[in-house]
Amino acid sequence: MFQPLDPLLHSELRLAVMSLLVSVEEAEFPYIKEQTGATAGNLSVQLDKLSEAGYIAVEKTYKGKRPCTICRITPAGLKAFEDYVNALKSYLEISK
């Protein structure tokens, strides 16, 4: 039986962002942008969607005089990511 895939995570960029954030405590916007190769505008939109869902926490602060956006995964985001990976496994097992 297929488990439903979280539509919020079933997107290339949002999934890449969540995968980056699961292995770190927190990451700055430029790092995520560089690692995903996304444009700043598109990344901002996707981060907002993840933040609105409560999957990530976005903190806007300053580094010296420069604005700095820090993202970290929340416990709800981690749970959603785990569920997504488990759901993927069920798809792969059935397709074998």
């Binding site: 079933h10 960029l13 999934l15 890449a16 980056l20 699961v22 770190v24 993927l88």
Partner: protein, 208 residues
């Protein structure tokens, strides 16, 4: 990367694997540079202090170790500013804490023995048994070996672990065989084996 929502299960898993692997590579890139930096500083200062100790007035020159610590920290801060921002992760935090503990112990030990050397504290109050000498270089060498080995084990890097065990245990016994400024040459050798060489190896491995 675009906003593609028509993903297959295989493609999704590939994105997850690629992102995690990319993140791991980015974080270990240049991980050996702080080891090379601190190792080189220890070599330069150990040789300098050994020379000054022998030719210009004795062990008082050991205060230069505190100057080295300040230069080292300032240099590391400058390097961190120039590097692209890296995310904080649990591995980096643990390694940072291991080296902080090493720094606290060594600076504490060095500070107390400096006070004794300057006459503020009496040697008798530190080592009441007559004729007993505290083997500071051996202790610091051993602690350096332990901190460096722990780093190697956390990073799962065999080169760091092996070099550090050799440097820590070898340096401990070797430093006991020498007295005065000559001990510092042992310290310099330990820094080369335990910090500089593993640092170079790590940087070569992470560049591949």
């Amino acid at each position: 990367m675009e906003e593609n929502e028509n993903l297959t299960a295989e493609r999704s898993l590939e994105i997850i694997r690629e992102s995690i692997e990319q993140s791991r590579r980015a974080m270990t890139k240049h991980a050996g540079t702080p080891m090379i930096w601190w190792g080189s500083l220890v070599v330069v200062f150990a040789v300098l202090i050994a020379y000054l100790w022998k030719s210009h007035g004795g062990p008082v020159w050991n205060v230069l170790w505190f100057v080295m610590t300040i230069i080292g920290m300032a240099g590391e801060k400058m390097m961190a500013k120039r590097r692209e921002p890296l995310p904080r992760n649990i591995i980096g935090s643990v390694i940072g804490k291991v080296w902080s503990a090493f720094g606290i112990f060594c600076c504490g030990l060095g500070f107390i023995t400096c006070l004794a050397g300057l006459g503020v504290l009496s040697f008798k109050s530190l080592a009441p048994a007559s004729g007993y000498i505290i083997p500071i270089t051996s202790i610091i060498t051993f602690a350096l070996g332990m901190a460096s080995t722990t780093t190697g084990l956390i990073l799962k890097n065999r080169a760091i672990s092996i070099c550090s065990v050799i440097a820590g245990i070898g340096g401990f016994f070797l430093a006991l065989r020498f007295a005065g400024g000559e001990q510092l040459l042992v310290m310099a050798a330990v820094a080369v084996v335990g910090l500089v060489i593993p640092g170079i190896i790590v940087n070569i491995q992470t560049r591949e």
